[in-house]
């Protein structure tokens, strides 16, 4: 299993890694986002909840630079450099940002069926220019750390749903993504496997001082995050600090040590 990053906060960083201001997005006459304002701090885990059509996935896609808002800004500050407004970047720049700074874990995994587990993970590094041998080494390490040692050469079809999601998590983390976006990452899994995958996802992201933003329908899954954002009709209804949140749990563990 991935160990918690030594620098990971028992106290959350107050510096926002993503700041969304007045986000608006319409599909025809339907408003998917209607003036969303949101700050997400570095090292924080945030769950986005809401009924179907509330704008959850649109918000996730907009924060991740997959979609551009009709109006508003999304400032990203992952380094000491000046924050960048993702909403103003062109298609190529946003693609570059996604592969270099962000990690993604989707419900369907979106793994390439023809590739082996290790090739799926190393692909993320090779796209960023890492030579094949080095990429293979790092990918193998990540798969081993996520409990998939010995399964590197298996094709995706030869893995269980939970194992495939671990491969997707390894692919999202192998590039050192500072922010990981997850869309229903446990949605297709049974509850025991889902809990296991969620634990791995939290440990490999916020556990290493990075940020996790997750869309989910499952209140139990959301309760594992530091904060839960409730959306309805494209607006934020409420933001609740979850009691069982990952950072809170780590704080509690730190206090007892």
């Amino acid at each position: 299993m991935i160990e918690a990053h030594p620098a990971s906060g028992n106290t959350l960083n107050t510096h926002p890694v993503l700041s969304a201001r007045d986000l608006r997005r319409a599909y025809g006459s339907t408003l998917a986002l209607d003036g969303v304002n949101l700050d997400i701090r570095a090292g924080e885990s945030v769950a986005i909840m809401g009924p179907s059509g509330s704008g959850k996935s649109t918000l996730l896609h907009t924060l991740a630079g997959i979609e551009r808002p009709d109006f508003g800004s999304v400032l990203l500050s992952t380094s000491a450099a000046t924050p960048r407004d993702i909403a103003t970047l062109g298609e190529k720049e946003r693609s570059k940002l996604r592969r270099e700074s962000f990690g993604f874990v989707f419900q369907s995994g979106l793994l390439i069926p023809e590739l082996t587990a290790v090739e799926n993970v190393m692909m993320a590094l090779m796209i960023n220019g890492v030579p094949r041998a080095a990429a293979q080494e790092q990918a193998t390490q990540w798969l081993g750390a996520l409990g998939l040692a010995g399964m590197e050469e298996r094709r995706i079809g030869q893995l269980s749903g939970g194992q495939a999601q671990r491969v997707a998590i390894a692919r999202a983390q192998v590039t050192g993504a500072r922010v990981t976006f997850a869309d229903e990452p446990t949605g297709a899994l049974d509850s025991a496997t889902g809990a296991e995958v969620l634990s791995i996802l939290l440990n490999s992201t916020v556990g290493r001082g990075n940020t996790l933003i997750m869309v989910t329908h499952d209140a139990d899954v959301a309760a594992q995050c530091d904060r839960v954002i409730h959306l309805r009709d494209g607006r934020i209804l409420a933001q609740v600090a979850a009691t069982q949140g990952a950072s809170t749990q780590r704080s509690a563990a730190g206090d007892t040590n």
């Binding site: 693609s95 592969r99 993604f104 989707f106 390439i112 069926p113 993320a124 796209i127 094949r132």
Partner: protein
């Protein structure tokens, strides 16, 4: 009746299906036009009656037979594309209690209707091309008005194209599973077996023996007969060795892959070497026809120097060369069409994955390079491989052709290059970016 009314209901072209439908109908248009032209050409040999008329008919029949394979491959690919492009509708039919038989019926009807529309377009294309093709010289004179077929034969060709399309529709459906929850590809991939290698070795020995006697054959007619026997065995060997050779190309590419696109392309080839082979089999067979037939024709042309140019033997030599060039051209057009259709289906199959990978930050250009590489690496590899193997098999013949008729050999090689470029153009017709735009 229920199948017919459902097929009518489901067959209405929507915006998303317009592209695949046009592509499929367009492919049938070309195939029908080509079959009509080749049939007209074949039947035109009855114009002149001499001792070689039988030989002409055999060669013409061979050219027609050669066209059936790409037509069947094209039909199956078209049916798969047709089913893929309406997967949601077919799944809904299953969800509502429709039987697999009903789905097969709907697909066959739709394939037949598309083929009929395409074939009627093909008749128009044939009519437009006939005057130009009529200028081609065979047996010492232009084909001319012999290009115009009896309307009953045209009707027979249309019926044949529609029938093959409907049957291919059913065969194509065997490769996918239409369940109430969606359409997916069958994942059973037959692995090339070692027994094939043994059979191929046997065939190669036979072919070498056949061609070793060619030097001692005095009669031109027997020489052509020997060529045909070797040719048939060569095509058999190619079909057996093809998937295995494509897998070898894939493995070599995988070992050498440095970029994500190269890695992905190699894995796409290795995913199903038999399917990759089907897509390029036409190229390998055409290359074989080009080398064996072309060498023979070139040699016959050069040895015929000094012979009366209007003698039946001299005319046959010239005509075999013309026939080989036409066969290469027609074969490549069919292969290019099949490639366009197969790629359109493959791009539709992978639409969700492409969209997902784009979300992850993968540039469409990387996916495009992988897709193109997965088609063109086997095309080029198998094309060059076939030329080398064919030339080695008929070494004395090919060697003599290069020495005595270099210009003819160059023309054949140039035709092959143009053919490969046509396939490359066909691959470019369904770019990944088109999927992402949807």
């Amino acid at each position: 009746m229920r199948t017919l009314s459902l097929a009518w209901l489901l067959g209405k072209p929507s915006r998303g299906r317009r592209g695949p439908l046009l592509l499929t109908a367009g492919a049938y248009t070309l195939v029908c036009a080509l079959v009509l032209i080749v049939t007209a050409g074949a039947l035109s040999f009855d114009r002149v009656q001499n001792e070689l008329t039988g030989m002409y008919q055999v060669l013409a029949a061979l050219a027609v037979v050669l066209l059936v394979v790409p037509l069947a491959v094209l039909g199956a690919a078209a049916a798969r594309l047709s089913a893929r492009s309406q997967d949601t509708r077919l799944s809904t039919v299953r969800l509502l209690g429709g039987t697999p038989g009903l789905v097969v019926g709907i697909t066959m009807l739709e394939s037949a209707a598309t083929a009929l529309a395409g074939a009627l377009g093909g008749v128009l294309l044939y009519a437009a091309m006939a005057p130009a093709v009529g200028l081609v010289h065979f047996q010492g004179s232009a084909i001319g008005s012999a290009m115009w077929l009896d309307p009953r034969i045209i009707a027979l060709v249309i019926a044949g194209v529609v029938l093959v399309a409907a049957l291919s529709g059913a065969v194509g459906l065997r490769k996918i599973i239409v369940s109430p929850l969606g359409v997916r590809n069958r994942t059973v991939t037959p692995k090339p077996r070692w027994i094939r290698a043994v059979v191929v070795l046997g065939l190669i020995i036979c072919i070498s023996l056949v061609f070793s006697v060619i030097g001692s054959v005095a009669s031109l007619a027997i020489m052509v007969g020997v060529l045909l026997t070797g040719f048939a065995m060569g095509i058999g060997a190619l079909n057996l060795v093809g998937p295995w050779a494509v897998a070898l190309i894939g493995k070599a590419k995988l070992k050498k892959a440095k970029s994500p696109a190269q890695l992905l392309a190699a894995r796409m080839i290795l995913e199903n070497p038999a399917q990759a082979w089907r897509q390029v089999s036409g190229i390998a067979m055409t290359a074989f026809v080009a080398v064996v037939g072309g060498s023979g024709a070139a040699l016959m042309n050069s040895t015929g120097t000094g012979m009366d140019p209007n003698s039946p033997d001299a005319l046959l030599a010239t005509d075999v060369m013309t026939g080989v060039l036409l066969t290469i051209a027609v074969s490549f057009i069919s292969v290019a069409c099949s490639t366009a259709i197969t790629q359109a289906a493959a791009t539709l199959d992978r639409a969700d994955l492409y969209a997902g990978l784009h979300k992850l930050g993968m540039e469409p250009a990387v996916m495009e390079r992988a897709r193109v590489g997965s088609v063109m690496a086997p095309v080029i590899g198998m094309g060059i491989g076939s030329i080398i193997v064919s030339a080695a098999l008929v070494f004395p013949l090919a060697g003599m052709a290069i020495i005595f008729a270099p210009l003819s050999v160059a023309v054949i090689l140039l035709t092959l290059v143009v053919g490969v470029l046509a396939v490359r153009g066909a691959v470019a017709m369904t770019p990944v970016s088109q999927t992402l735009a949807h």
